[in-house]
């Protein structure tokens, strides 16, 4: 019965797509690889001023004095500016105004900007920065979020250090634990991570003739940049124009506050001097200051019946957001909504705390708290399986969220995407055989290698949900010659999202992709489409693109109907041809229809708008429907652990994701590959170290990320179980592949060594500790 229903649903949802679902290489890829794509650094005018900030070298201090006397004598220095020179509001916080654009009398983290220096030559600026003398009065500081929660801890800001306490209360957790046959409790920890977009932050600002400022930069959200730059300069919004240049990677930090910083440094200098100015971060500057992935400490207590059925789950999540909140108050929400894994659990209690410390600030990073939450939840499931003597995959299948099950917020699950992912991975990873074989290998081997296989399952609440209004604007226009232009403030920063939008427009208008082009995001040309975050461009932006394009198609239908002499409902737009569905030979070209439309004075320019249904939940209990739909994933990781050196090699990843609708299979392949490797970095390599607030890992020589050499074999499968909110049923996918690897890989390592893994990354020294512990037990 369920099977038939599924097939019927598939049939009803299926559509004969011409462009959607076909593999399209990113539309800007040829330009990118031939070096023709214009990045901000390619656009510097010859007389540009170079601007860089003077940054604090201590994590928490009062600024007693700054001495610029030596710095300003360097030939070529044009200006030195402090908070006193800011004409508008001295704040660069992207959502919460808690972060001074230039420090006033206090710095709260290492690397905080205190002044900016502008000069004719970059060398002069660098030299001048080295000559600035700052007198600090050190303040007591706190670097551990658990310490920071204590009432007598040093305060990072005037209020307490806990900036959000988020709760889930479902059922009766005490009663649940009483009904449990088995209860386990473990504490897990993750580290700060920097996602190191290849292009560090850069912003170029030029004064306009009318007293405004134009900024060009590397960013995800031009409207956030415009808003803050205008406020800092004390200008009306419309006096600031922001254009996103080609952007070399985003991963979240480019939607956060450092792109605002560089554009505002440059803009302040352009405003003061009347000249073009550019601010470019070096790699170490970017790594110190850009928004990190949050460090989490997560305590999970889980109760189950002896048959494996989950009856109670209690979590405490402590999130270190560093010295400024940035997106920390939203990351804790996503983390807590996903803290108990993708399982049907009747009784849940969870408390999440977003905590300030004097570490550099964390914020938006691909996955937004989910990788940390799933690492802790999915490790916990493996520990539970061990305690119960059950196969960890079986334990998960027993508790999986299926159609009709309720999440920890009591929202009802509407599809079986997760079960389909799990089934595919179970079969295609050869889970049962390998699990047995590796255990036998480890028993018999005399060499240093141990093999392990681990699984993780995830669901990922789609797009913004509780994180903001989930709307998008996309403009589409058709020129006289039939060329289609797409304009939006949603951005592509290497994600392939622009290609997806163009495919949707081409599909709706029935033209080939080469007729459709995307214009550069420019705040003077479009409305604010909401942020480019939360994997929303294809799913949510796609709906707006679909709307704009279909409005134009409907207009053209009337024109075509007259030209073809058939009723307009019979007019078909397909691959550049427009024809009568009952007589395909009766046809005209798309261009001819457009030309006729222009002759009769039709305007072929439409704005598409879409807003996802509002999501609601109760602030006290977390109960409700925080997301409109979920993306699902199941992943199996296979590892080889060298017990003599501690080195973990990820051999193979087998994964399946329910993406709702495949818009561009090539784009999805890239997203799965890139995301998997990035997630692997979090699992075994990336360890961003603050030592008493000072960053020790500020470049690639000390902060190791995976390269192509480290990439495992990746076998993936995409399932299409359409969701209600996205274009053609598409679900969010940009972030999701980074979520399962930390969990799956650490479960595989725990399997290989036979000991619990409670902390990532699994760097060799930590793995050796685990090996030692395994020897002791």
């Amino acid at each position: 019965m369920a099977e038939v229903e599924k097939q019927v649903e598939r049939l009803l949802n299926s559509k004969d797509f011409v462009v959607i679902g076909k593999g399209i290489a990113r539309v800007d890829s040829l330009e990118a690889v031939t070096g023709r794509l214009a990045f901000t650094g390619d656009l510097l005018p010859s007389n540009v001023l170079y601007v860089r900030p003077v940054r604090s070298t201590v994590p928490h201090a009062l600024i007693k004095d700054i001495d610029f006397s030596a710095a300003k004598n360097i030939p070529g220095i044009v200006g030195i500016y402090t908070w006193r020179d800011i004409p508008g509001i001295n704040d660069a916080g992207s959502l919460i105004p808690d972060r001074p654009f230039l420090a006033v009398d206090k710095v709260r983290h290492y690397g905080e900007a205190m002044a900016i220096i502008a000069g004719e030559r970059p060398e002069a600026v660098d030299e001048a920065i080295g000559l600035v003398r700052v007198e600090y009065e050190r303040l007591p500081a706190v670097f551990d979020p658990v310490e920071a929660m204590k009432p007598d801890a040093p305060k990072v800001h005037d209020k307490g250090n806990i900036c959000r306490h988020m709760k889930i209360r479902k059922g009766d957790v005490e009663k649940g634990f009483q009904e449990a046959d088995v209860i386990i409790e473990n504490t897990y920890q993750t580290e700060f991570i920097d996602s190191v977009p290849p292009e560090p932050e850069i912003g170029l600002a030029s004064p306009d003739q009318d007293g405004g400022i134009t900024c060009i930069g590397s960013m995800q959200n031009p409207f956030d940049v415009r808003w803050k730059v205008a406020d800092i300069l004390g200008l009306p919004q419309e006096k600031v124009r922001v254009i996103q240049a080609a952007t070399g990677g985003g991963f979240g930090p480019k939607s956060d506050e450092t792109p605002i910083d560089v554009c505002a440094y440059a803009a302040l200098v352009a405003y003061k001097t009347g000249r073009s100015a550019v601010s470019i971060m070096t790699r170490d500057e970017a790594m110190v200051t850009q928004a990190k992935r949050h460090k989490f400490i997560i305590k999970n207590k889980t109760g189950a019946r002896s048959d494996g059925r989950l009856v109670a789950w209690e979590s405490t999540l402590i999130e270190d957001t560093g010295a400024y909140i940035s997106k920390g108050h939203l990351v804790i929400v996503r983390a807590i909504f996903h803290c108990a894994g993708p399982y049907d659990i009747p009784n849940v209690k969870a408390d999440g705390y977003c905590v300030l410390t004097n570490n550099t600030f964390a914020g938006s990073t691909r996955g937004f708290g989910a990788p940390q939450a799933f690492f802790a939840a999915e490790r916990q499931m493996d520990e539970l399986a061990r305690k119960l003597g059950m196969d960890p995959f079986e334990l998960r299948l027993k508790n999986l969220l299926r159609r009709g099950s309720k999440t920890i917020t009591s929202a009802e699950i509407e599809d079986d995407g997760l079960a389909m992912c799990a089934e595919w991975v179970y079969n295609n990873s050869e889970w049962v055989r390998k699990r047995r074989e590796y255990e036998e290998f480890n028993r018999k081997t005399r060499g240093p290698i141990r093999k392990g296989i681990g699984v993780a399952m995830i669901y990922h609440g789609n797009t913004l949900g509780p994180e903001g209004e989930d709307f998008a604007y996309v403009d589409v226009s058709v020129d006289k010659d039939g060329k289609v232009s797409v304009r939006t403030g949603l951005t592509d920063f290497g994600t392939g999202a622009a290609t997806g939008l163009l495919m949707i427009v081409a599909e709706e208008l029935g033209v080939t992709l080469d007729k459709v082009r995307m214009e550069r995001p420019d705040t003077s040309k479009v409305q604010n489409p909401g942020p480019t975050v939360a994997s929303r461009v294809t799913a949510i932006g796609g709906r707006a693109a679909q709307e704009a394009a279909s409005k134009i198609r409907e207009k053209l239908k009337g024109v075509a109907a007259e030209m073809l002499g058939c009723p307009s409902e019979r007019v078909v737009f397909r691959e550049g041809r427009v024809y009568d569905s009952e007589n395909p030979e009766n046809k005209v070209s798309f261009e001819e229809v457009v030309s006729q439309a222009y002759r009769i004075g039709l305007e072929l320019k439409e704005t598409g708008y879409y807003i996802a249904p509002p999501t609601k939940w109760d602030e006290e209990t977390g109960q409700g429907k925080p997301y409109n739909q979920y993306t699902y994933g199941a992943e199996v990781a296979e590892v080889e652990v060298d017990v003599e050196t501690g080195l973990v090699k990820v051999v193979r990843i087998t994964c399946a994701f329910d993406v709702g609708r495949i818009v561009n299979p090539i784009g999805l392949k890239d997203v799965v590959h890139g995301g998997t490797i990035m997630g692997m970095g979090q699992a075994i390599m990336e360890r961003f170290i603050h030592e008493d607030g000072i960053v020790l890992t500020d470049n690639f020589s000390t902060y190791w990320i995976p390269t192509a050499v480290d990439s495992p074999e990746i076998i993936y499968h995409l399932i299409e179980s359409p969701g209600p909110a996205g274009a053609y049923g598409a679900k969010a996918m940009g972030e999701i592949p980074v979520v399962p690897p930390p969990a799956a890989i650490s479960n595989a390592v725990a399997h290989a060594l036979g000991v619990p893994v409670k902390q990532i990354p699994l760097t060799p020294d930590r793995v050796l500790e685990l090996v030692k512990r395994a020897g002791e037990t």
Binding site: Y50, R52, R55, T57, G111, P122, E123, D126, E127, I129, G130, I280, T282, R283, D284, E285, V288, E644, T645, G646, L647, I684, M685, I689, I694, L696, T697, D698, S701, T702, W704, P706, T707, V709, D710, P764, D765, L768
Partner: protein, 290 residues
């Protein structure tokens, strides 16, 4: 730590590209300490961007034909010119005779760097974690140095005097590295421990000469553990004096891990490095003695 490095730009300098060795030596003589030579430029340009070096003259050697050759002569050994890139060397057939160097050259960094970086440059950088010096020292390689005043040869072991410090006077140029013909019944390997394409945390090169069941001679050299490559003399002695060398490998590894200098840094603790020295010593010896 400052936020001033790397700077965006190179410091100002005059660029020279001599066409003959004589011309190169004359330029070096003329500018002395003001000049730096460049082969691949991988190290030099990075150092200059970080303002660790600011030479007013850069002498690019890539225009000098005889510096771009690797020549192997049976019985004499392998001479590798100053501008031979690591990938050129990796593709040079006779390199296989020099096991440890072959391993080190083939695995260093990544293909893009190897297309640019040179063996001689790698050596002259004298950065503690680069791969080729331990292999060259284990193989008894020498550096060939020329100046207008004449020429001299220095063992690689003595050439590297400290981190980023080499035995080279102003006006002198390293024209080549010479690796002697491997001894009969000898075998050498280099292994490094790292993750993926990153720098080594510990590397080891071993070169043994077997004599029946015994080890007649052995050289054990460690990279990335301290500020210069470390030679484990006591460990080598223990192996040479053993009647049944296969039975003392554990002991040799332990001695090596205790006798060489090892440091702690952000990437690894001293304790972990010493642990790795023991493990890698065992592994490399099993390979070369096998």
């Amino acid at each position: 730590m400052s936020f001033g490095s790397p700077w965006f730009t190179l410091p100002e300098f005059t660029y020279h590209k001599p066409k003959t060795l004589k011309e190169a030596l004359e330029l070096l003589d003329k500018y002395g300490e003001e000049a730096k030579v460049m082969a691949g430029g991988v190290g030099l340009l990075a150092f200059m961007k970080e303002r660790l070096m600011a030479p007013s003259h850069v002498i690019d050697l890539k225009g000098v034909p005889e510096l771009g050759q690797a020549i192997y002569k049976e019985g004499e050994g392998l001479t590798i010119g100053a501008t031979v890139t690591l990938n050129e060397l990796a593709r040079y057939g006779p390199l296989k005779k020099f096991g440890a160097l072959h391993d080190a050259v083939r695995d260093i960094a990544d293909p893009i760097i190897r297309n640019r970086a040179t063996l001689v440059g790698n050596l002259c950088e004298a950065i503690p974690w680069v791969d080729t010096p331990p292999a060259l020292i284990a193989l008894g390689a020498e550096v060939e140095i020329r100046s207008l005043k004449g020429e001299r040869r220095v063992p690689v072991k003595d050439f590297i005097k400290g981190p980023v410090e080499i035995d080279l006077e102003p006006g002198e140029l390293v024209t080549a590295v010479h690796v002697p013909e491997p001894r009969r019944n000898s075998r050498s390997r280099f292994i490094k421990y790292n993750t993926g394409s990153e720098f080594a945390l510990v590397s080891v090169a071993a070169n043994v000469v077997m004599d029946g069941g015994r080890v007649r001679d052995v050289s054990l050299v460690y990279g990335a553990v301290s500020s210069t490559p470390q030679v484990a003399v006591k460990a080598a002695d223990a192996l040479k004096s053993a009647e049944k060398p296969w039975e003392v490998l554990d002991e040799v590894g332990r001695i090596a891990s205790e006798e060489v200098e090892a440091v702690s840094d952000v990437l690894a603790s001293e304790e972990y490095r010493r642990h790795l020295i023991r493990v890698l010593t065992l592994r490399v010896l099993r390979e070369v003695m096998g």
